[in-house]
Each structure stands twice: as C-alpha cells, then as structure tokens.
Amino acid sequence: MKRQIPFALVFIFGFFTIFQYFVPHESSEWVYEFLLDWILIIGIFALALGIWSLWRVSIDKINNRRPNWGYSYVTLAGLFLMIIFGFTAKNGDSWGYYFPFVIAVLLVIIMLIQTIKAKGQSKILYIGLALLFLIISILIGYFDKSWSIHFSTSEGLKNTMFQDFFDYILIPILSTMFSLLAFFIASAAYRAFRARNVLATILLVAALIVMLRFNFYLPGAEYFARTSTWLMNVPNLAANRAIVIGIGLGVVATALKVILGIERGYMGKG
C-alpha cells in the first residue's frame, strides 16, 4: 500500500494533466486551476524546507567543528536578522530600544544553537539564558512604542534596516562574487585556453570574434560584428535548437516513465 498509493496518484494526476490540455471544458479547467494552486502551495513548503535544511547544515557544521564553522554563525545570524527586520517597522523618528531588541533575539538564537551542542548542566544553563533573552526581547517589544511588529503585512519592506541590508550588504557581496569571474576567466584564458586541436581552435576563434564584436575602435570591427551575428544566428542557434529539442524529447520520455511507474527515483528508490 505504501508504494501503490503514490503510484496511483502519480498515474491519475499525470494522465489527467495531459488530457486536460485537450479538453477546454469549464469543469476540467476548474480542476486544473485547483491543481495549479496545490503546486504553488507545495512550492512554498519547499522554501520552508530550504530554511530548515540551512539551519540543520549550519548546526551540524558548528557542532562538529567542521572547517570554517565560524561562518555558520554568520549565516544563521544573517538569516534571522533579515527575518527580524522583515517583521518589524519603525513608527516614529527614533529607533528607541530596537537594536537592544535585535541583539536580544540574536542571543536567543545563539543560545538555542549552544543548547543543541551542549551536554549535561551546561544545556540547562543555555536553555535558561535563551529564556532570559527571550523575556528581555518580549519586554522590549511590549513596552517600546517607537517600533512595532507586523506579522502579516509588508511593513518590514519599508524598514530602513531591511532595505539598507539589501542595498548595502547583499547586493555588493553578491555582485562582487559574480564580478570575480572576470578576473578568473582572464587568468584561465591566459594559462589554459590553447588551440591544441581543431575543435579547440574553432572554439577559440569563435570566442575571440564574439568578444571583439563591440570594440568599434579596433580595425576590422565591422567584420567582427557581422561574423559574430552569423555565429550566434547559425551555428549557435543550430546547436541550441538541437539541445532544446533533445531536452524536450527527454522530458516527455521521463514524464511517461514516471507516470507509468517505470521510473521510481522520486520515491527514493531507483
């Protein structure tokens, strides 16, 4: 039964979704829309699962003192900081005791991490400290009227701290990581990009032409631009089209295998 029910569900919903596409009846549309809503709900659960997975991986790293375990504290602090900022908003001109509140909540999280790691009496100590900081944060939240907590609204998006962390921390960090590619590509190109055989030569020449297409101060720039357009529109297009069609056929074949119960990898067994 444990195996038959999932197979039956996959078979029914799989075939229904295929046939629904060809049946433009109102009731069929209604069931289809209902199923689509279910997919989105499952998608949102995946987000929660992602956060839980991040928590588990980071805790495991801290507990077992794996390489660079200290950064896991930073990861978790970043995660919870953004959540705190997203749920809180300033009411007036002053922040009041907002920052002591943020620190208290972060300390609760840190104490909880330590509790998981600790054994014996120190476990009780950390639980006690977590409770203490929790009470402090609740008290600050209750008495401080200069800011407020908003659980089901988007007030947090207007929180300066939320926006500033996004603008001045997240964006520069992620952009820097991506920008580093330019430097590594240049270094790798100098050391390893060699015309060792015919295929490598074709790749190299194509890469040079495409890279030089926008340098209109170079002699022969028009030629590079035209050749580059041809490269993109003919060989690149042909190769990509072949890949796309191949993927499409593969998806159809895999979907049929899943629906018919031949492919059972999604159940955790091959």
Partner: protein, 327 residues
C-alpha cells in the same frame, strides 16, 4: 592571512581613500592622456609576451591587476564608443514604440543581485522609456529579490530624470506585485487569473484597490511583456507558457551568458526581441536616446574583453613557439 596580502589590501584601501577624498572630482583624462595610458598598457603586454615567450608565465595577480586596470580606467577616459544596434535590440524597441500610451506592460524581474550589474542598467533604461512613453507597468518577480531590483530600477530612473517622479504615481502608472513562489506554475496560473497569484501588491494593498489593475484579470489584458532574466525560471518559461499557450508578446533582457540559449526562440519569432547583456542595454539606451549606466559600462567591458583576447593570444603564441622549439 599572509603579510604580503595584508600589505596589498592596505595599499588598496589607501588608494580607495585617496581616490575618494583627496583627488578633486570629476576625474577625467584628456584624449592625449587616455592615449598615453593605452600605449603604456600596450607596452606592458609586449613585456608580458616577451616573458611568456621565454617560458616564464606571469603570476595570476598580475593578470588580475591588468584586468582591474582595464575595467576601471575607461571610467576616467573621454572616449566614446559607437554602439552598434543589433536587429534583436531594434525589435524590442520597435515593439515598444508601437504600443500606444496607456498600454499595459508586464515587467517580470527574474534576477537577483549577482546579475544586477548586467541587467539593472537595461531595467532602468526600460523604466525610463516606459514611463516617458506613458506605458503602464505591472511589475512581478519569479525570483525572490526581483521585486526589490525593480524598486531600485524605478528609483534610479526617477533620480536620473526627476521630472518622471512628479509625473508618475504608484498604483496609477505602475504597480509592484512582488514575488510569488512556484516558478513556471505562477505564469501558468496568471494565464487564468492574476489575482489568484497576487491577491495584494508588494505593500499589501488589495488587488481590487489598485486602480491600474481594475481591468486586468489575466494575460489577455496585457499588451506586452518584458522579462529581465538571469536563469531559471526566466525567459524560456515565459516563452513556453505565456507565449505558446496564452499568445502574449514577450521580449527579454538577458545576461550575456544566457543570451545564446535564447536565440532559438528569437529565430522562431516566439520572442519579440532580445537585449543581450551589457551591450544590449547600451544599444537600447542609444535607441531610446537616454544614455545611462550601460553606455558607460560597455566601454569598460569592451576594454576588458580586449585584455582577455590579448592574454589568449599571448598564451597561444608562447604555446606554439615552445612547440616549434621542441620539434
């Protein structure tokens, strides 16, 4: 951290400090100085070629430094680049140009900060142009940070053209519906009902209270869609669902890495047009006659491309000369 690295980082910090506080702004090289700098760089490459031919590959830090210089120097140079306009960029512009004022344009922001340096300039250019033309923009994101990027693009557009800020009103001229989880299924569901996917906007205003969305129920009420995408879910999903199933005209703005993969949709006319990478953004700015960051950055990028090409050539010349010696 090694002592050498500490020294390098300290020097960089001092350099940044000097650049920010001690050098009068704007720093701009004359044409002659620009040419001297380019010639000096050329001499450095000749030296590198000689060393490489002697069998001594230069260290990667030198490569990094030269790429860094080639990326940053153009910001101070008075050189201008004649930006070519590709047919795919022109198609985007023409399609937008055909829309009468008041047309509803869906702008999907399917990217996050790592791709922002490449996609943000074209998003800003698009916003400036759309607001200037009186197009009504409905923003949404299949990527969590997309709606924030859209907000930034709008603020940048307002900063560049303060007159727009007075003219454009939230809820009437544009709306940000925010992010919705579910990848391509969000597009599929939007084909039936926008409201089912976005019961309220990013700021929690109910869907029915937003004037711009009064007559918008699904894709049939949208005149055009512009998708700024850096991966999946992105342009391919918009084409496969919004274009093929709901016949929505879609154009895309992609990163240069992703652009070649989108060409099959362009050639089959499933995609109206494409702004590919920084060059696509710069060409769009040229067509809209609103030069912005893409026009500035493209010179920098083209310099870096030349440097990479030179490194490839040097590496290969050395490779073949050594091969010849061995024979």
């Amino acid at each position: 951290m090694k002592k050498k690295e500490v020294v390098i980082v300290s020097l960089l910090i001092i350099f940044a400090f000097v650049l920010k506080y001690l050098i009068p702004k704007p720093v701009e090289f004359s044409y002659t100085v620009s040419m001297i700098v380019i010639i000096l760089l050329g001499l450095v490459f000749v030296y590198i070629l000689i060393r490489t031919l002697q069998g001594q590959l230069i260290g990667r830090r030198v490569v990094f430094l030269l790429v860094g210089i080639s990326l940053s120097l153009p910001f101070f140079m008075k050189l201008t680049l004649n930006i070519p306009v590709s047919p795919e960029v022109r198609s985007v512009y023409d399609a937008l140009q055909k829309l009468p004022p008041g047309s509803k344009v869906l702008a999907a922001f399917d990217y996050d900060p790592p791709s922002a340096p490449e996609l943000q300039p074209m998003a800003v250019a698009f916003m400036k142009y759309a607001f200037d033309r009186g197009l009504k923009v409905i923003i949404m994101g299949l990527w969590p940070q997309g709606p924030q990027q859209a907000d930034q693009a709008i603020q940048s557009a307002f900063k560049a053209e303060p007159s727009l800020k007075k003219k454009i009103k939230y809820g009437r001229d544009y709306v940000n519906l925010g992010f919705q989880a579910g990848n391509e299924f969000v597009i599929l569901r939007m084909g039936e009902s926008f409201k089912a996917m976005f019961p309220s906007d990013l700021y929690n205003t109910p869907y029915d209270s937003i004037p711009l969305l009064n007559n918008v129920s699904n894709f049939s009420n949208i005149d055009f869609c512009m998708d700024f995408s850096a991966g999946k879910p992105g342009t391919a999903e918009w084409v496969q669902i919004a274009v093929d199933r709901f016949k929505l005209p879609v154009a895309a703005g992609n990163t240069a890495v992703q652009a070649p993969m989108v060409y099959p949709y362009l050639n089959s006319h499933q995609l109206v047009g494409l702004l590919g990478g920084m060059s696509g953004g710069a060409a769009f700015e040229k067509l809209t006659k609103k030069p912005g960051k893409a026009t500035t950055y493209i010179l920098s990028q083209s310099f870096a491309h030349v440097v990479v090409v030179i490194f490839i050539i040097i590496g290969n010349v050395a490779y073949f000369s050594r091969k010849k010696e061995k024979k």
